[in-house]
Amino acid sequence: MDKQLALLQGTLDLLILKAVSLGPLHGYGVLLRIQQISKDSLEIQQGSLYPALYRLEHQGWIVSEWGESENKRKAKYYRLTAAGKRRLLAETKKWNRMSDVIAAILGAAPEEV
């Protein structure tokens, strides 16, 4: 396994939204899902996850609900709201454009300039 990548500033929110969009998750589950999808290549500070979750909830993009976890314990589950879905879509588009632009810039050869 390669060394883990540090998370880019501001991308955690996007990742959480994406993770939650695949189905309701509790906080730990969000962490697991991101790690699972990214094949453990992203380093996520566990402590920074919750402020992000609270922030997203406060902004109305996710809502939380108490439920029961796989190990029969009370856990708080987050799921995407309609506004969150729109947000995710918009952010994804923005991200894709941004990464295209950055890639284009970084891939530019001297003769193209």
């Binding site: 509790h26 906080g27 730990y28 500070q45 566990q46 402590g47 920074s48 919750y50 402020p51 992000a52 609270y54 922030r55 909830e57 406060h58 902004q59 109305g60 809502v63 976890s69 190990n71 314990r73 009370k74 856990a75 708080k76 709201t81 309609a82 506004a83």
Partner: protein
């Protein structure tokens, strides 16, 4: 959705804070436990797993803090913290807090109370549907000193009804009074004769039954009556079966056809021109039949509702055309048909708008003084707290945080002040309702309503922000190092200047208010002292209205009046008795055009001479105490067959016979078919509607020489009797005397002449009292402000004073120095205030009577008073300055 979620989070964060904390703990614990369990699965020993999990999670407390912040409630939490802290600091300096809160409460409270009155009288819509569509047309008085609104005649109204198109409905109405008999003691009721369009024009439907139909305007259908709600309750106990029953009014049987909803008493007397003599409240309405030959006096008020889409201007244009038509039809009455049109709102409020605006202005000044006083207090306080703030910012408090802290403290003050102010306002409104002038329109509707409360609170918060912030900036502006190095309270020159400016403006504003109050006080006393042309002490008056059916003609009326007069003359305790159409301050008499044969019209533009025309009995002038200046009084021998005589007033003599002797001259009513009268006496002018009215020509004729028969109405006379006893105790004897003549004779409006005088000055007295109390508050506030500034400056100059005294200054010199500082501020304030007062007094001149706006005595007295009061406020700090011990003062540094 988003807003709702946010709001819900915010609310629950505020009110269920511990609950949320528990949730957060549970959530984080779940995370750590689950992670630890996974670590165990991966082979980490049980004892080690939880520790590892915690370490990998990172700082739990900082995560929690970040979560709290992310939840977005930190603002509120710090606000609560600020509030708690602010309340604690205020409690620690009760003197400051109490002064500031009291000052604000007085300022805000009086503003809210006056605003409540203004709101009820001027701003609240009238209780009729779409009141802005209701208008009242009048003619303009051809003689300008008689007031504005000249009533219409029946002919005008009939023509108007036929001709106009811009009105949905028009109704004419006039006052009438009724003796209700058959219900125990005969009582007198105030009623209105109204045409069929009256109720539709106002847009008010009856509570039960119906109002008049158009055919009831035709003669012969007029014996129907609509009752007011209160009369219905009083006489019929609220029984719906009253409809169809009969009541006996003025000896005729009327059928009750409807009852109006509660509160409908249109028109109120105080809302209508005084010349029409409307009662205070209408108790019943009867149809006003259109006579077959609709000539007759100009005694109608008209109310109309505009058609939809017709503007006020269009209606007025139509009215002007109508006026021109009338003038063409009656060229002999040219000049009497200039139309006026008032919206009902204007009509109702009328002259009371201006006194109220005066009060509103005065109370705004009080509020201004109160606020500047609070600003002054806050400024002094924040300077004293300079050290505290410096320390706090040195410990890391941001400027924004400090400002917010101060702002919260000030808002706390303002809101507490606003709360107490609302109590003050509530008391003020109660006071206004209890003691306010009863002729102030709609005073009964005054309540402290929500809008007023919002107004008071808004003013309070605005005060806190406007005056809280500048001192807050001042406190945080100074450089840290400088302030920390400084010893003692920082006395920057700019803050002293700012505070002096505030005090000077307070003195100036207080001067304006007290001058205004002083002028009103002088006005009030010159009203009381004014020569009203009668002697009100120990005179009992009442109104006598004959039952209509019983005394059909003027001779029968004269006979019964004569009988009453004789009976009263022989009543024990009666010194003199007489009656006339109107006793002094008993209402406006009839006015008529007159002719004077030996007075050639010098110029054609001049309008025909007019005069008030009143009946009087022998002895009437002696009874009310009106001096007979020349000639003789009426006697028993002035009868129909003897020479017809008249007594005129001084004003009439001077106006129509300037420089000549009117005795023996001839005068008569305008119409030539009535004979001329010989003037036999001249009496002093008397006031009829108010002590400040301007006298107009007036003539009295004996009640036994009424050759016109139909005019003026002899149905009602006002009786005056002079007695050595307490006049109020006469009611019983007088009632017995009336009963002996005719048991159907009612005794109405019993009063002493002194009470009538009192009633007439209620409004000026109310204005005067209010303005005087505002002036008192202003004085108090200004002296508090002065006290604050001077004692602060003494505190700052302790060291300087110590040095002066060490160098040999006597305590007296120090005393004089401090007092001199105060005197300087007062002098500047007075100079500015005098200039402002002159301007304000000029604006007030229409409220003044018997005193010029530039009355030097008032100004001098007020300046003296203000100087004394304010210097008294300087006295204490000046005394304190003389007690400065030089050694202590110098060592303090």
């Amino acid at each position: 959705m988003r807003l709702w979620t946010r709001l819900r989070a915010w609310l629950s964060a505020t009110f269920r804070r511990s609950h949320l904390e528990r949730d957060m703990d549970a959530e984080l614990r779940f995370h750590i436990d689950t992670y630890a369990a996974e670590l165990v699965q991966r082979g980490v020993p049980n004892s080690e797993a939880l520790r590892r999990a915690r370490i990998e999670f990172g700082g739990i407390d900082s995560a929690k803090e970040e979560c709290r912040e992310a939840r977005g409630v930190t603002f509120l939490e710090t606000l609560l913290q600020d509030l708690r802290f602010g309340a604690r600091t205020l409690r620690k300096s009760p003197g400051f807090a109490v002064t500031a809160i009291l000052t604000l409460a007085l300022g805000i409270g009086s503003t809210a109370a006056v605003f409540s009155v203004v709101n009820a009288v001027l701003l609240k819509p009238l209780p009729y549907p779409r009141p802005d569509r209701i208008v009242m047309p009048w003619w303009a008085w051809p003689v300008t000193d008689l007031g504005d609104d000249f009533p219409w005649g029946q002919r005008d109204f009939v023509a108007f009804q036929r001709q106009v198109v811009g009105f949905q409905s028009v109704g004419a109405f006039k006052p009438d009074s009724f003796n209700l008999t058959g219900f125990g003691d005969p009582i007198r009721l105030d009623g209105i004769k109204a045409s069929a369009g009256f109720f539709p024009a106002l847009g008010v439907a009856p509570l039960i039954g119906r109002t008049f139909r158009a055919q009831e305007e035709e003669p012969g259908h007029e014996l129907e009556v609509v009752l007011s709600h209160s009369l219905w309750l009083e006489r019929f106990g609220g029984d719906p079966g009253a409809i169809g029953r009969s009541i006996n009014l003025n000896g005729l049987s009327y059928t009750v056809i409807g009852v109006m909803p509660p509160g409908f008493v249109f028109p109120r007397g105080e809302e209508m021109p005084i010349v029409l003599g409307f009662p205070r409240q209408a108790q019943l309405w009867i149809p006003n039949p259109t006579p077959l030959n609709p000539a007759g006096p100009q005694d109608l008020a008209v109310v109309g509702r505009l058609k939809d889409g017709v503007t006020f201007e269009q209606a007025f244009a139509e009215l002007q055309v109508f006026g021109k038509d009338r003038e063409r039809e009656y060229p002999q009455a040219a000049g009497y048909f200039t139309p006026r049109l008032a919206t009902l709102g204007h009509q109702v409020v009328g002259d009371s708008r201006r006194p109220l605006l005066l009060l509103l202005g005065a109370v705004a000044v009080v509020l201004l003084i109160a606020c500047s006083n609070v600003a002054n207090l806050l400024l002094a306080r924040s300077l004293l707290r300079g050290k505290e703030f410096t320390l706090r910012s040195a410990l890391g408090a941001g400027r924004g945080r400090l400002l917010r802290q101060l702002l919260v403290e000030n808002l706390l003050l303002a809101i507490t002040g606003g709360f107490f102010g609302t109590l003050v306002a509530w008391g003020g409104v109660y006071f206004a309702r209890m003691f306010g002038p009863s002729n102030l329109p709609r005073l009964h509707e005054v309540t402290l309503d929500l809008r007023v409360f919002a107004f008071a609170l808004g003013v309070a918060c605005l005060t806190g922000i406007i005056f809280g912030l500048p001192p807050a900036f001042a406190a945080t502006r100074e450089g840290l190092v400088e302030s920390l190095k400084e010893r003692g309270p920082a006395a920057s020159a700019s803050s002293v200047r700012l505070r002096s400016t505030l005090v000077v403006s307070q003195v100036a504003l207080a001067l304006v208010l007290v001058v205004a109050a002083g002028l009103l006080v002088r006005t009030f006393y010159s009203l009381l002292r004014s020569d009203a042309g009668f002697n009100p002490s120990r005179v009992f008056t009442f109104q006598l209205t004959l039952p209509a059916g019983k005394y059909p003609d003027v001779d029968a009326m004269a006979r019964v009046y004569h009988a009453v007069l004789q009976r009263l003359q022989s009543t024990p305790g009666v010194q003199q008795v007489g009656f006339s159409s109107a006793v002094p301050l008993g209402g406006a008499p009839d006015n008529t055009g007159i002719r004077i044969p030996d007075r050639p019209r010098t110029n054609t533009k001049e309008t025909n001479p007019t005069a008030n025309y009143l009946f009087a009995t022998p002895g009437y002038f002696a009874a009310v105490g009106t001096p007979l200046l020349r000639g003789r009084d009426f006697t028993e021998s002035d009868i129909q067959d003897s020479q017809h005589v008249a007594i005129i007033t001084v004003t009439m003599a001077q106006k129509y016979w300037p420089g000549k002797d009117p005795l023996g001259k001839q005068v008569g009513v305008g119409l030539t078919r009535f004979p001329l009268r010989t003037i036999v006496g001249i009496v002093a002018d008397t006031k009829h509607t108010s002590l400040s009215e301007k006298s107009i020509p007036e003539m009295y004729v004996p009640y036994t020489q009424n050759e016109i028969k139909v005019w003026p109405n002899m149905q009602t006379m006002q009786v005056a009797l002079r007695t050595p006893q307490d006049p109020a105790s006469m009611t019983g004897d007088v009632r017995r005397a009336l009963n002996a003549v005719d048991p159907d004779l009612p005794l109405a409006k019993p009063a002493t002449l002194a009470a009538l005088v009192d009633d007439s000055v209620v409004q000026p007295r109310f204005s005067m009292l209010l303005l005087a109390s505002f002036g008192g508050i202003a004085l108090l506030l200004a002296s508090i402000g002065m006290y604050g500034v001077i004692s602060y400056s003494v505190a700052c100059r302790t060291r300087e004073i110590g040095i002066r005294m060490a160098l040999g200054a006597a305590p007296r010199q120090v005393f004089r120095m401090v007092l001199g500082q105060g005197a300087h501020l007062v002098a500047v304030g007075i100079a500015i205030g005098l200039v402002a007062s002159f301007a304000v007094a000029r604006l007030m001149s229409s409220f003044l009577f018997g005193v010029r706006p530039t009355d030097p005595y008032t100004y001098a007295a007020v300046c003296l008073l203000l100087t004394l009061v304010v210097l008294l406020a300087c006295y204490l700090p000046a005394r304190r300055a003389t007690r400065v011990d030089p050694t202590v003062a110098l060592r303090e540094e």
